[in-house]
Amino acid sequence: MLFENVRSALEALAGNRLRSVLTLMGVMIGVFAVTTTISLGAIATAGITSQLQDFGNQALFITPNDDNPRSTRFTDADIDALARLPVSILRQRNIRGLARAGSEETQLTVNGVTANAPEVDRTIKLARGRYFSEEEDRRAAPVMVLSADAGEALFPDDPNPVGREVSVTVGSSRSFYTVIGIKEPLTGAFTFASNIAVDVPLQTLYLNHPSLARGEYPFLPVTVGLDRNIGDIEAQVDAILTRRRGADTFRIQTIQGALTLFDTITTILQAVLGGIGAISLLVGGIGILNIMLVSVTERTREIGLRKALGAKKGVILQQFMIEAVVLTLVGGLVGLGAAIGVLYLAVALVPFLDKVVLSPFTVLLGLFVSVATGVVFGVWPASRAANLSPIEALRYE
């Protein structure tokens, strides 16, 4: 009986193919939205997390508290005090300038950093050449390491510009550098912004731009080994800086904090898209309700005949419920398929998503939601069919 009812449901839907397809569209979109939302959130979280693990270190980023007028830049003494902790701290200043190489020119950021930058920032990987040494930093050597984007901008025709000259103009002063290395392009999560920048030794930057106050740092990037507890380190950094500078004069950001923020954004996004999914399901469900009422009316004679042949109420109820559920289930399956397609597409196109995460829970939820929509919106038309009186139904023209 059940099989027969499923079969006659499929036949009835196939008999009105266009109408059936249009009707299941709402449920399809609803299930698509719900499934995509949930999975995309999971995929994004997994992608970001694995990117941060690739980063190879845990990191803190310390900035002055701009809301506090007593807050000042960090000093060498601050760094020396923090250096007692098991951390690496990068001394870094930067300025904007206009770089020229031959006929090419571009605005870029000039980072003055110490020679330990590649140890602190694990995203620094050299494609060609080398990074500068401590000795070059100490004697303020005029050397420069290009980012991949800067190399592209200044030497579009030369994949290996090591040894070539670059001039940097800041205000009225102009200085010359020799390129000693070029970095690999950034991957994954860091590729969103274009990154036209060069690294030069910190002492060289001070030498070429005497107006920069020495020993003052607008921010401190701090890295911590993976074997350390970042929470403990953060507490100690906070204690040291509070004692030296006073409370509320600085802020510590962690990647974990950024992740929490990212999680919050993802959750809000999921709630919004989930809401859209719920609304489509509601609208889709009303579509099902409407078309099932039409179907029951159109098939009044058929229902009368079935009753005359001995079909009880429950059997007719079951027949039309199955029809509604088949409709929504097909819609749900198509929606799921579309969602999976879009997820693979998103992973292929968006750099920091690395693999499709599709939990069985999500798939089951999608299927459950589509079946539930059919049941909820199919029950009224089906009970109308079941309650038709056989004579009225047979007489119906």
């Binding site: 099989f3 036949e11 004679r301 005949l305 009753k307 005359a308 001995g310 009880k312 004579i391 047979l394």
Partner: protein, 253 residues
Amino acid sequence: MTQPPAGAPAQARGPVIEARDLHKVYTMEGGLEVRALRGLDLAVERGEFIAIMGPSGSGKSTLLQILGCLDAPTSGSYRLAGVEVARMSEDELAAVRNRRIGFIFQAFNLLPRATALRNVALPLMYRGVRPRERIERAAAALERIGLGDRLEHRSNELSGGQRQRVAIARALVTEPDILLADEPTGNLDSRTGEEILALFDAIHDEGRTVLMVTHEAEVAQHTERIVHIRDGVVESNERVAPRTVPSDPAAAT
């Protein structure tokens, strides 16, 4: 499906239909009452072939609906094969329709997209017969009425006469106590109508009870007794002289 009280073993003796003092009052919108049956009595013996005739509005359709358990009388008693059915619930009536009654309609009322085989198997499904047995019994019923070569045709691929044959096979497949036919030849040309009537003769010759509503005297002459209905009661019973023309054996096999 469990055996409802309505499906108690049929009485072998006594009339298969015993209706006493049947009343049916329809209340129209606005409170107007229409008395379709006004104390109708009817007894039908097992194996009889009866025509029910009457002008429109006489109550013959109402009578057929009550006899077919599609509707319940307002008052009175209706015993079908010895079982009182006048006060049964909707689901009990459904079971009685399924087990004891075979319907044949003027408009055939087949499921257009389903094959002949599935149309005939439908009442067996509602009885709870297993699929394999349903198909076997439906195929046998179709072969008996000469449509053994049309099992997989959809009903919208069949001619009018073939459709009515499928409908007859569907009515017979459950081995009902009575066959109720409502103008079974009304939608057919006269030649096809004759073939269908010959089939009814053959069914009757097998010993089945057949009641047929018709307004054609010629059709009524095929039966043994004509019950004339007027104003909601039986006006007269007319015996029909035994036919001299034998039924067409080709159509009956």
